[in-house]
């Protein structure tokens, strides 16, 4: 199936005007599959980490959102053990006018502002609420252990 104009344009723009701290490179043999990296935002427990993700554009993209998950282990209340992400714009608030770059920016923002009240990883969210300092420390340790650039 020919690649829709929309995906071609988006890919071009991602290559030509990359977003600082974010990279998304399509596979040569499958232009709907992207290798993504996101730098941990500064002043967050993820600072200094480089997080790998995979991104896939389903057939009915952009009517349905891209499928994204973290490949790097991360300690975060809205990201579960399998790397799945709880983010409104990837679900009910998805709009076909949103793009890969805006979604990746939202994910980067989520790293800077975890939301334990809308958790995906319940045990992590619990910790985050009970003892935020300890949870942040754990997140920092995990970043050191698993997200070394």
């Amino acid at each position: 199936m020919a690649l829709p104009k929309r995906i071609i344009k988006e890919t071009e723009r991602l290559m030509n005007e990359p977003v600082p701290g974010i990279s998304a490179v399509p596979h040569e043999d499958n232009l709907r599959y992207f290798d993504v990296t996101i730098d941990g935002p500064s002043q967050s427990p993820y600072e200094g980490g480089l997080f790998k993700l995979e991104l896939f554009l389903p057939d009915d993209y952009p009517m349905t959102p891209p499928k994204i998950r973290f490949l790097t282990k991360i300690y975060h209340p809205n990201i579960d053990r399998l790397g799945r992400i709880c983010l409104d714009v990837l679900k009910s608030n998805w709009s076909p006018a949103l793009q890969i770059r805006t979604i990746l920016l939202s994910i980067q923002a989520l790293l800077g502002a975890p939301n334990p009240d809308d958790p995906l990883a319940n045990d992590v969210a619990q910790k985050w609420k009970e003892d935020q300092n300890a949870a942040i420390e754990t997140a920092r340790q995990w970043t050191q252990e698993h997200a070394k650039p």
């Binding site: 829709p4 104009k5 929309r6 009517m63 709009s95 006018a97 949103l98």
Partner: protein, 513 residues
């Protein structure tokens, strides 16, 4: 539990039940109900019987009726607000069909209300239309060109027609959305109104769209619910609120014949309240492994150890080999049942030192659960077996009818008996879940007595079906009597339990796992 559907579908209507029980009422001395409550007013036969405590008011609606209700309400509110029907429909759906709230809110803050429903400004002056715009690039497909048809609502988020159509198709067809489809624009909360939809969607999709809109009318109303029976298109209206469900078990009867609980949509589960049913079903599912042995269909005769298979619904077993008579449920001697000694339905709590030991305690709690589960599962199973036997009997009766010239109406007593049996077993089944969570107080015994009486009545009727076919015709009067008695015992149990539930006389140990 999958048997429920079978025996809920063609039961007697309430009126028929009343008539049947009427017959046997007079000669019964221990019938303690208030005559008025039961609705048997001999003075004036035309007066509609007063409601039983276990019954709730409800109404059944066809899809056409639902549509016309919806249209009427839209028209009424449209006149009050001075908004066109399309906009009014959106406003009503936006506020989940809460008419009063909409009117209040609209009178109070008109612009905000319109805005929040995605209708900002007047939606009349400028009807939605397709436009070709020079230099336009669609943000969704990245196509451009002066010939491209485009569309935007008043929010100004403009996309090409193809993308808009595909977006609506995804929402309606794949996601089943209708009343609250938002503008495809990023972060835009404007709702796509029905005029825009009329312009944009294809005919085939319109049907589905209107179907979904009608569904939201029922889904959004607290007092309306779809009948859960497969392929049923009716909805039922009932005033019982969620917060009342610990005090009332709102069984309703759809025009398709299905009895279901308005509170939770499960099959009729009177007398047990919804929350208790949910807990019980969960428990049975969790404990199904442990409890499995119980539903086995064979047992050994406690006297001669020969294997006995249960093939009818009746619990009164007679060993083919040694003629030992016993109760299938407790394996106790049958002669001790059916008299004042009868206590098969009651679990005697073993007290004393044994319970102090933690292990014994857990064994005891399992034993206790199994006691109730055993009886619960047994009635479920027996209902199936009763039905099987009835179906076989019915077949033979039809043959008999053909050869002996007996009329259809003359064999109807078997049908009534079978239906009463199904309904009573359904009730009995749930009395055991009810009893499992029931905290002991002075009412418990009355409840257990009612349960015991119904159980006896049911077994007495059930065993009739095991009689040889050629005797059945001669047993007609006896059978009619037993059927009426069963139905009456059921009504007494339900009436009594519903009354006490309503008055808050029962307490439940819901923390019991």
């Amino acid at each position: 539990m999958d048997s429920d559907d079978d025996f809920n579908s063609s039961q007697l209507s309430d009126d028929e039940i009343m008539d049947d029980s009427d017959v046997a009422l007079d000669d019964d001395s221990d019938f303690e109900m208030d005559q008025d409550d039961m609705g048997f007013d001999s003075q004036d036969k035309d007066i509609k019987p007063a409601k039983h405590a276990y019954e709730v008011d409800f109404k059944v609606f066809s899809p056409q009726q639902i549509q016309s209700h919806q249209d009427k309400q839209i028209e009424e509110v449209s006149n009050i607000l001075g908004q066109p029907p399309e906009a009014t429909a959106i406003l009503l759906r936006h506020l989940r069909w809460n008419k009063e709230r909409l009117i209040d809110q609209y009178m109070d803050k008109t612009e905000e209300t319109l805005e929040s429903a995605g209708l900002g400004e007047s939606s009349e002056s400028n009807p939605p239309k397709l436009e070709k715009i020079a230099g336009f690039v669609c943000d969704i497909c990245c196509e451009d060109g002066p010939e491209l048809d485009t569309f935007a609502m008043r929010c100004g988020h403009r996309f090409c027609l193809d993308c808009y159509r595909q977006y609506l198709f995804t929402k309606i067809k794949d996601e089943g959305e209708a009343a609250r489809i938002r503008c495809p624009g990023e972060g835009c909360t404007r709702i796509v109104d029905s005029k825009s939809l009329d312009l944009l969607v294809s005919e085939s999709l319109k049907d589905r769209y209107h179907e979904l809109l009608t569904r939201t009318y029922v889904d959004d109303k607290e007092n309306l619910r779809w009948c859960p029976a497969p392929n049923c298109v009716f909805a039922v209206e009932c005033g019982v609120k969620d917060k009342e469900l610990m005090k009332v078990v709102p069984t309703v009867h759809c025009d398709c014949g299905h009895y279901f609980c308005f509170g939770c949509s499960l099959n009729d589960h009177q007398p047990a309240p919804c929350s208790l049913v949910k807990k019980w079903l969960k428990k049975c599912e969790d404990d199904s492994e442990t409890a499995n042995w119980i539903s086995a269909n064979t047992k050994e005769c406690s006297k001669c150890n020969s294997t006995i298979e249960k093939n009818g619904g009746c619990n009164h077993m007679t060993c083919r080999k040694c003629r030992h008579e016993f109760c299938w449920m407790c394996m106790g001697v049958w002669s001790e049942h059916g008299t004042s000694w009868y206590n098969c339905n009651r679990y005697e709590e073993k007290s004393g030192s044994e319970a102090r030991d933690a292990q014994a305690k857990s064994r005891q709690s399992l034993e206790r659960y199994l006691h109730y589960y055993n009886r619960y599962a047994n009635h479920e199973q027996s209902a199936k077996l009763d039905k099987d036997i009835y179906l076989k009997t019915e077949k033979k009766m039809t043959q008999l009818q053909n050869t002996s010239g007996m009329s259809w109406i003359e064999v109807q007593f078997l049908d009534s008996a079978s239906q009463a049996l199904q309904q009573c077993r359904q009730t009995l089944k749930w009395t055991y879940a009810f009893a499992y969570y029931l905290a002991r107080n002075n009412l418990t015994e009355i409840f257990e007595d009612n349960q015991k009486d119904l159980e006896m009545a049911v077994e007495n009727l059930s065993e009739m079906f095991e009689k040889p076919i050629d005797q059945l015709q001669g047993l007609k009067v006896d059978m009619l009597d037993r059927t009426a008695y069963c139905t009456k015992r059921r009504i007494i149990l339900l009436e009594d339990t519903a009354q006490n539930l309503r008055d808050g006389m029962f307490s439940f140990e819901l923390r019991k796992s």
